[in-house]
Symmetry: C2
Subunit: 157 residues, 2 copies
């Protein structure tokens, strides 16, 4: 089962290593992770997407809560939160493919952010299923490079 | 000086901990970091934003290159890359403020992704200066919560 965990923590050096270490120390793989400061520059928020055994995760959440620089841990259930991901994808194009890629980009309300003679770089945001549908379509043209931020999550209430 | 580093690595358990440890072990703070799989599911790409001493960073990049699961390290200079960040921001609103927040959201081509009786959640993407300008404006209404993915970067060529 997949899990989305949000960790609010003090913006101190080494916290990321400790948090990542808690997961890898228990053989728990992280699917995606992102961390950046909040509007309070002394705090950072991390969103972790992971999958695996429920009981192990409960242990990890308990241990996260015990870390001295961790302020709040939320283990989100389906529907309680808003999540979005940003993906940059560079697609190989000739003049014919360029028009097609531009059409699909338009349909997905994605944005072209860079143009090179033989490639286009596109920014798309959305939930996981939208983003993966788009990546699947771009794969038909030839993906040169792809960067995903992993999803950022926020409780609705 | 700020640096943006992109690391392509095998999608193996524990690599994140080792990469984060390289930075914290040298007292180098990470401003933001994100990591997620690429279009090749056996590889992940990580984008790290950091600041500090140039010589120390050079050492870190050398050590990153030596990690067994690291495939490629790029230390981007200004202008060589496209970068984008996604931010979710929940703003407190009454009926008067809601109209104002919606106007500003429109000007920034941001999107409202959730509405609650007393709050709006907005998704904005862009480069750092755009995103920070928007956060600054929202701060006047009252930010309840904020999640940033940190920037994702991709070389232009």
């Amino acid at each position: 089962m997949r899990h989305t965990i949000s960790v609010l923590m003090e913006n101190k050096f080494g916290v990321l290593t400790r948090v990542a270490g808690l997961f890898s120390g228990r053989g728990y793989n992280i699917d995606s992770l992102n961390v950046a400061p909040t509007n309070d520059p002394t705090a950072s928020r991390m969103t972790i997407v992971t999958h695996g055994n429920e009981a192990t995760l409960e242990q990890i959440v308990k241990q996260l809560n015990k870390l001295p620089d961790v302020l709040k841990v939320q283990n989100f259930s389906e529907g309680e939160y808003v999540d979005r991901e940003l993906v940059l994808v560079k697609v190989t194009v000739d003049s014919k493919a360029r028009a097609e890629v531009m059409q699909i980009t338009d349909i997905f309300r994605a944005k072209i952010v860079d143009v090179q003679p033989k490639s286009l770089t596109i920014e798309i945001t959305g939930n996981e299923s939208k983003v993966e549908k788009f990546i699947g379509l771009m794969d038909n043209f030839g993906i040169l490079e792809l960067t995903r931020t992993g999803k950022a999550a926020m409780p609705r209430k």
